[in-house]
């Protein structure tokens, strides 16, 4: 079974400061990891993904995430937060077994509300 935990319901950060949104995962095989952002009354917008390769992944709007296999984490980061970054952020995982097959479904965390204070 695959699962995702986002331990913080809300993160508050001052504009211009670095931000981190935490995510840990559990899979039986190898993880495909994703971050999505959701603005009010909107669908989910893709930010970035980790499939394989470099543990530091860069995505849209200056966001990046670091894959840490030993800690089973995939934290989202940005060096300097903007007020427009305020939104709901979701981490998601797919479980890929060692033969390359696996689950097609995305399993999401409960989300973290990011508030960037001017």
């Amino acid at each position: 079974a695959q699962s995702v935990a986002q331990p913080e319901d809300q993160v508050n950060v001052a504009e211009g400061n670095p931000l981190t949104v935490k995510c840990t995962y559990s899979v039986s095989g190898n993880p495909y990891l994703f971050w999505y952002v959701q603005y009010p009354n909107r669908g989910l917008q893709f930010l970035l993904k980790y499939i394989t390769g470099d543990n530091l992944v860069k995505g849209s709007y200056g966001f990046e995430a670091e894959f840490n296999k030993s800690q089973t984490s995939f934290h989202l980061k940005k060096p300097s937060a903007l007020v427009s970054d305020s939104a709901l952020y979701f981490c998601a995982v797919r479980d890929i077994n060692f033969s390359g097959a696996g689950s097609y479904q995305l399993t999401f965390g409960k989300g973290t509300k990011l508030s960037v204070i001017p």
Partner: protein, 112 residues
């Protein structure tokens, strides 16, 4: 290049009724997945359609069914609606179901 589109945007139904939601995938995509997002929760996987067949299903009852058409668009049908079916229903498309799923704006369903 049009992204994933869904219709209708909002819907109000009463308990026991049936509802059909529609999704058109992003250009070049052939796989459609459906998710239910209850208020304050992350999306929950309902099922995925590929080559007009249900390929994988989440933990949802048989009241939830779907269809995929030859042009890759898809429908989600929910029968015998319950109050607990009130949620945002999201459609996502991808290529062969691998890698990135791109989401539509969703259909907000309210069951009274």
């Amino acid at each position: 290049d049009a992204g994933v589109t869904q219709s209708p945007t909002h819907l109000i139904k009463t308990r026991g009724q049936q509802v059909t939601l529609r999704c058109s995938p992003k250009s070049g995509h052939d796989t459609v997945s459906w998710y239910q997002q209850a208020l304050g929760q992350g999306p929950q996987f309902i099922f995925q359609y590929y080559e007009e067949e249900e390929r994988q299903r989440g933990n949802f009852p048989d009241r939830f069914s779907g269809h995929q058409f030859p042009n890759y668009s898809s429908e989600l049908n929910v029968n015998a609606l319950l109050l607990g079916d009130s949620a945002l229903y999201l459609c996502a498309s991808s290529v062969r179901g691998w890698e990135t799923q791109y989401f539509g704006p969703g259909t907000r369903l309210l069951v009274l």
